[in-house]
Symmetry: C2
DNA sequence: AAAACAAATGTGTTCGTACACACAATATGA
DNA sequence: TCATATTGTGTGTACGAACACATTTGTTTT
């Protein structure tokens, strides 16, 4: 606990006077520029500590000639997508700090293509920058890129899903397993103990599931097990964009398993299941999904999806940039793991979800 | 849409040069200080408009000698209370902007006493300040105070519950009726169409219900009506802190109405019902309440309360102060009505609720 | 002992804006 | 006509910190 200063903020000149040195010396101490005698170093540090010196950030930013380049590496998106919200948050951060010694550049990759991510990384390796914000869709690639960044001592911030044992400056996102618990709880409370649940796996070309999917599903199953769920989990492998195929697969499953009364997907594509449920009029089925995309929200408002789980993408994007700003420009400490709140959205509270005040 | 400037930000000297006047003249135009010829006023305004001049806020704040006093008028609280979170948000705002030309002072009133609120108001009338943040617990008193503030052209920001047709600079809080809908939906989905619901009214000395309570209850009933709820609403008038009395009242109600399977309170005192339900082992009853107070959260974690509805009090406090800062210091426009998201908290997602990133 | 050098320390200018003040131009009154 | 307001206009300094550069002090070399 620091004692409350009565308004009067001490400046560098004050520190200098108190330590009986010049402002230049204080400046050198503050910035570890060296060329200070051991004795003076000691004295100045003591005074700084004692008065809990806080630099005037306005003055600092004004005087500082140093300027920083930050790259944000995120998936490309369309209006209403999940990543559109992240982008909005990044943009809000740019509005706030973009003029003050930081230049933020956004580069995009294809969220279904590891290759495209790696291409972006290769391109970045030819460029000069001071920090990176990375959407961690492809863990392995991200880890390898992080190694490279560490060698250059370039700080990096992760967004979206957590990668353990990394040296990121900060991570913003949810605990994927916990979101699985929440999803399971919501579904279980409607489905009951002995009915079946459909898990819709909407896969893209490469046929692989993301780490986030895997962790969410893990959390989901853990919860069901913990509450003694006795029903079955039925899997439907669906294809993004191929409606006739999907409908056929789903028809088969629902015909052979009449006990299915709940359904879920572990990414933002639950609208695919929603379209089927809606067109087949299976409205007794409780459908739960992730992320506040336009399609999902429409399904929620229309009563097809009963709940969506969200993780404040806008805030994630915003905090991601701001944390870098605070680190680089203001020299502040930032938490390395920041789990975002897990939001439960239903028809009745979706309206205000994106009102985040300022 | 403004055109994107390629980095280079124009300064006052640049504007001056472009308009063929001195920086002093530009300054006078920007701040409406007068003493500028019609001709020059025109020219400078045109240039400012054309280049979409954005002052360097750092430099402005540094150079400005003007400093502002903001009062925050909120209820006193104990650790773990609802208003403790609001206070935390205000404090975070103080950390952020408190050093830069604004002095924020907090004054407290007793949340159960209109008189104490009015006393605070009377005291404020003897003081000098530039803006106020007001917790709108007592609408009538707030309206009368607002009239006074309008005469002095002192901007005021409302927190907590909305008062229509006022000229507040900004309001931060939820739409009370909507939160009633959400509560009803959650309860209804567990209770079903023909069971009874207990409404616990925990009243204080003055025996009156807050506007917020009334609106939440209104929204609650509207929802139940819209979905064709056929059960009965049973009311229990309880006293804060008088456990033996409350238990007796509740025992009576539950004995005479065996059909009650759901319960709710429309303020943060649902733990009072929770204590009863827990001690009588009525754990089949679905209990829903408002606000993330320590007592409520404990009940939620313990499985007694099944869901809590929250409205980001920390963010409200923070945004309240920041909106005043933006208005006074930065001269920015702020939205006059800001409905906060309505959060649904259950056992599984309560853990991360207060992680708000930065 | 003087010169050369390195290390330590102090001074001065700069960032973009606010604002006080000096000065110029015009108008008003005696 | 001169003195005095009145209004418009430009200049200079301050804000607090960063950083370049000048100066002092101490040490080593010749």
């Amino acid at each position: 606990m620091k004692t409350e200063d009565e308004g009067s903020t001490l400046r560098i000149v004050d520190i200098a006077r108190m330590a009986h040195v010049s402002t230049g010396t204080v400046d050198r101490v503050i910035h570890n520029r060296g060329k200070v005698s051991a004795e003076n170093l000691q004295k100045v540090k003591a005074v700084l500590e004692m008065v809990d010196y806080r630099p005037n950030l306005m003055a600092r930013s004004l005087a500082s000639k140093r300027s920083y380049v930050i790259y944000a590496v995120i998936p490309s998106f369309e209006v209403g997508d999940y990543w559109a919200d992240v982008y909005a948050g990044i943009n809000r951060a740019i509005e706030e700090v973009g003029r003050y010694n930081v230049l933020i550049k956004i580069v995009y990759f294809d969220k279904y293509s590891e290759l495209s991510f790696n291409r972006v990384v290769q391109d970045l390796k030819t460029r000069k920058f001071d920090a990176v914000l990375i959407a961690t869709l492809f863990s392995d690639c991200v880890i390898s890129f992080s190694k490279y960044l560490e060698k250059l001592s370039v700080p990096y911030v992760y967004l979206d899903s957590h990668i353990p044992d990394q040296k990121q400056l900060a991570y913003f996102g949810t605990s994927s397993q916990e979101t699985g618990h929440v999803a399971a709880r919501l579904l279980y409370s409607k489905v009951g103990v002995d009915k079946d649940i459909l898990i819709g796996q909407i896969v893209h070309d490469d046929n692989s599931l993301s780490t986030q999917w895997i962790n969410r599903e893990l959390g989901f199953k853990n919860y069901l097990e913990s509450v003694g769920f006795k029903g079955n989990l039925r899997y439907a492998k669906l294809r993004s964009g191929d409606e006739s195929y999907n409908f056929k697969v789903l028809d088969d499953i629902f015909q052979s398993h009449e006990n299915i009364v709940g359904a879920i997907t572990f990414n933002s594509t639950c609208h695919v299941l929603g379209e089927y449920i809606k067109s087949r009029d299976h409205l007794n089925i409780t459908l739960i999904g992730y992320d506040i995309t336009k399609k999902n929200v429409d399904m929620l408002s229309g009563g097809v999806v009963s709940a969506l789980i969200a993780q404040r993408p806008e805030i994630q994007g915003h905090c991601g940039i701001i944390s870098i700003y605070e680190h680089l420009v203001l020299g502040r400490k930032v938490n390395s793991i920041n789990y975002m709140p897990i939001d439960i959205l239903v028809k009745e509270n979706i309206l205000f979800y994106n009102n985040i005040g300022l």
